[in-house]
Structures are given as structure tokens and as C-alpha cells.
Symmetry: C2
């Protein structure tokens, strides 16, 4: 670790607690905003089983309000996308002039909101590829993977260096993406078909999609729509890069084959009766495709189904 930084973790679910915990383990001053779990964690701390090594934070810095946390060097915002519009209120008290914000959330276009609230220069997007669950309050089970891909809202290389420096010395595999927008779309190439079909298919694991002729063809066709929409969006944003269609499909299917009976977070939300992040993962990409006149018949149908399943949650 180069420098001890103050870090606020807003949204201390499994992802926020795990990655915040890794930064605390590495020596940073990490302050967790807790609501529901405050009492339990104040009593027993965080206890994390991890495929990269178990660890515990017996006495983490925990707070009930952002005001008590105060201004920090970094904010890791790991709210669920369904709580996006709480972001402004929850982050505001921690934002100083130089505070950097890592939006470690699922979905497309989230950073636009944070950039509007807090300025574009200090906004980063993070994509965690990780298999992680919550146990009892304060107990996190990290089951595998863990890489975080970080992009900067303005794609500034020196800012990406700053982001890397934060994680230096932590037991976390962090890589940077030269284009945040492209990285977000590439993540959606997996999430839209696989998470979507795991839900719409009745709460199934990813191996069931691969084992099913129709579902895997549907996943592939959905991925093609996402790639087409994503490349149109990259073009509209004057990005130089493009998603390479065939290579992406091949990579995503091969990667999924290594994942076994993986349960995407949307599928876990679905089977446990919680709200799914439908707008961030499916709704916003569909909206952009429409605006760009890209025809996405399968994405439209899947999104309509997921919105229906999400109603009343």
C-alpha cells in the first residue's frame, strides 16, 4: 500500500463488505455505512470466508449515517441499482472536493447519474466478476472469482493509475479498462442473456442454460443483439473501440462453461423474492438500442418478461 486513504463504503451488502473489507485488511481507513446490520456488526464484526483466504474485521469502523462518516478520499458505492436514486443523498455528506467515487454496481448508465450529481472528473465505474453471498449479518461468503475491472468516466489514464494505487497491496485482482462504456457493455454481453435466462427460465443456474439447446441458442441470439446495440452506442459516443462479436460470444460461453452451477445475483434475487436490477441491466440497454434504432426483438421480450416478474417487489 502506497498511502493510507480514507474510504467510505456506501451499500454494505456482500460486494461492498467484501471489497471494503479487503481494503481495510490492506491498511486503509475504511468506514462502512450500515443500517439493518449495524447492531450485529458492532457486536461481532465482519467475518469473511473467501476462496482467496478467510479474514475477519473484529472491530470495523461502522456508522449509521453518512454524516458521521464525513468526507473521505474514496467512496465505494455498492448500492443495489434499484436504490440508485438514494445515491445522491447517501453519498453527498462524504464528498469533498477531491473525493473519488467508484460506482461498484451492476448495469448501464449509472455513472451518468453520479457524474451529474458530483462532477465527471472523479467518477469511476467498477465491475466485479465475483461469486459472493451473504450469510448472517456480518458474514460474507466469497465462493470464487473476484476480479474487479475499473474504468474512469472520462477514460483518463492517470486517474486509472490512482484507482489501481488504492487497491495496491490488497488481496484483490484489479484491472483497468481503457473505455468504461465498452467495459460496461461487455459485462452486459454476459449479464443480459445469462442472468436474464436464469431468471425467466424459472430460477435456474447457468449450467442449465448451456445444457439446453434452445436456451443456449437464445442466449447467443440475445448476446448478438447486445453486441450490436453496444457497438452502436460506442459509435454514438465517439468511442474508438468496438466489441468483437464472434470473439466475445466465444469467450463468454467458454467462461460460463467454467462456472458450473453459478447463480447470478438477479437469479438469487428472483428466487428469494427480492427486487431485481431490471432497469439497470435490461431496461437501460434496451432504451439505448431503441434510441439508436437498433432492432432488439429478443431483448424487448426478455425485458418485458423480467419487468413483469419484478412487479410488486
Amino acid at each position: 500500500m502506497h498511502k493510507k486513504e480514507t474510504v467510505a463504503v456506501i451499500g454494505s451488502g456482500a460486494v461492498g463488505s467484501y471489497y471494503g473489507g479487503r481494503l481495510a485488511e490492506a491498511g486503509h481507513d475504511v468506514r462502512f455505512l450500515l443500517r439493518r446490520d449495524y447492531h450485529a456488526v458492532s457486536h461481532s464484526g465482519f467475518n469473511i470466508t473467501s476462496s482467496d483466504g478467510d479474514f475477519a474485521l473484529p472491530r470495523p469502523s461502522i456508522f449509521r449515517t453518512s454524516e458521521e462518516i464525513g468526507k473521505v478520499d474514496w467512496i465505494i458505492c455498492a448500492l443495489k441499482a434499484t436504490a440508485l436514486y438514494d445515491g445522491h443523498r447517501l453519498l453527498q455528506p462524504c464528498v469533498g472536493k477531491h473525493t473519488r467515487i467508484l460506482v461498484l454496481m451492476n448495469g448501464l448508465g449509472l455513472e451518468d447519474h453520479f457524474a451529474g450529481w458530483f462532477g465527471r472528473e472523479n467518477i469511476f465505474g467498477g465491475m466485479a466478476f465475483v461469486c459472493i453471498n451473504r450469510g448472517r449479518p456480518g458474514n460474507i461468503h466469497h465462493l470464487g472469482y473476484g476480479r474487479v475491472t475499473i474504468g474512469h468516466y472520462l477514460d483518463q489514464p492517470d486517474e486509472l493509475e490512482e484507482a489501481l494505487a488504492l487497491w495496491d497491496g490488497s488481496k484483490t485482482d484489479v484491472v483497468t479498462a481503457p473505455s468504461l462504456l465498452q467495459a460496461r457493455w461487455e459485462k452486459l454481453c454476459w449479464n443480459i442473456p445469462f442472468s436474464g435466462l436464469c431468471v425467466a427460465g424459472g430460477g435456474i443456474t447457468t449450467d442449465r442454460i448451456l445444457a439446453d439447446h434452445d436456451l443456449s441458442l437464445s442466449a447467443m441470439a440475445l448476446m448478438q443483439e447486445v453486441i450490436t446495440a453496444g457497438n452502436a452506442d460506442l459509435k454514438a459516443h465517439n468511442e474508438k473501440g468496438r466489441i468483437k462479436g464472434y470473439a466475445m460470444i466465444d469467450r463468454m460461453f467458454k467462461q460460463t462453461a467454467t462456472m458450473g452451477d453459478y447463480r447470478p445475483s438477479a437469479m438469487i434475487d428472483f428466487v428469494e423474492g427480492r427486487a431485481m436490477e431490471v432497469e439497470a441491466i435490461w431496461g437501460e440497454p434496451m432504451k439505448r438500442a431503441h434510441a439508436l434504432k437498433v432492432d432488439t426483438p429478443k431483448l424487448n421480450l426478455l425485458t418485458a418478461i423480467l419487468r413483469s416478474l419484478n412487479r410488486g417487489r
Copy 2:
């Protein structure tokens, strides 16, 4: 009633019991094949509440095997399509040289099987547009609608007159279709989108589809695919008629608007944990579309989802 006929009802669920009951009420010698409900019905008969007038059959002719029923003038086969392949065995003992068979089931291509087993000349297809549920064994609740559209496998007008004559004097609204294949596809224009989205949307009623912008657009786009596939299939079968696209969509949506919070049978199967008729209603039309090189991206996705939801049932 012109002539008293012997009628075997094979598949005495709600639809079979209701329409068989109407024929018995009109004076025909109707013989019901019962398995699970035999004991209850032998004790209490059939009791039918109906929007067209309640009625009861206190002592219906019921049988445990088709052999006991013996050869009849007419068979009404109202098996669930998932039990299609039981049809040969269950009908065979009732089929004489002149026995006519009305396949009163949901889905496409069912009559092809019966025609292969028992000859083409005597096969009819029936489409019931009816809202009907089972209560306790022997108790049927007919909640609304009830029209039966009947086509003949070879589209012979004189055979259609024979079919009409059977229902003459019964409290049943029966009409004939000059083309059985076209009538089947027209029924699918409703069933594929509306029943499918009621299931995939999480077990919702049809009014919820109409009230939801995305779902109703998806229903319309699915219907367009069905119309295109259906017309290609009609052409391939040298049928003269075609489904009129705009008029059909307009009629189906207007009709659905009159149906309130209708629960399609597939949706009832879904929420009650029973096997849905996925292959007959979605799988076979999709298969034909593929064979005819008609692109049906939404139907493919919906079918993959429904097959997944149906697994293990």
C-alpha cells in the same frame, strides 16, 4: 337433436366433462372415461355451474376403461396435449369403421397423429374458446364464453354438416371452420402470445398484459411472427386462405379487452405446478416456422423459456 348418437368422452377434465355433459343433456348416449374421479362421480355425478345455465348429470355413464365403453359413433378426445401419445391406446377400443373423432385439444398438428392412427376421413379438430375450471371431482365451473369451432381434417363440407348435427339441440355454440389448419393457426395467434406471456410474466392474467406497454407490444410482435409462420404453413399446405394480419391483431386485442382478468389454461397449469402444453402450443408452431425458414426470434425465446419452466413437471 336429429338422431341419438353414442359418444365416448376420452379425457374427462373440465372441457371434456362440460361438452360431453351438454351432449348428454341434449339426449345423446354419452360415455365418459374416468380414472382418478371415477369413484367420486359414481357417487355424486357431474354437477356443472354454467353461465349458460347450470345442470347436473346425477347418473352419467362412466367407465374405467375404453374397452368397457366399446365402439361408438363419435369420440370426443379432450386429453391434455401432454398426454397426446396416450391417445392411440385410449381411443382404439372405441373406434369402429364409421367412428368420427373430434380432437378437442389445444395446439397444432395433433390431428396429424390421430389421422395416422385411425385414418384421415373421420378426424375433426375442435377449438373451444371457453373459460372453465374444475372444482372438486365431478364439479365443473363454466365461467364464460363456450363457442366451439370445428374443422374437418380434409375440410369436407358434408363432414362438417355431420359435426354440426351432433351438437344440434345442445346448449352449445358450435361453428364450423372451412379450413382446419387455418383455424388452428388463428387460435394460436391468441394462445402463443397471450398464454405464453401470462406464464412467462410470472403467472399473470390477460388484463395485465394489456395494461403493460412492453408486454402488449411483445404480444403484438409475437402475434406477427405467428401470422407470418401460419401463412407460410398454409401456403405450404396449398391452402387458399390466409390469416389477415392487421385484422387478426385488431380482433384478438379487442377480444382480449373483453375478457377481464382471464387466466389461460397454461397459466393455471403453471401456477398450480402442472405440466403445460408447451410442445403443442409453442414447440410445434416454432418447428414448422423453422422448417419453412420463417424467422421467429421472439417465439424461439419464449418457447425456450416455457420449456425451461416446464422441466421436471
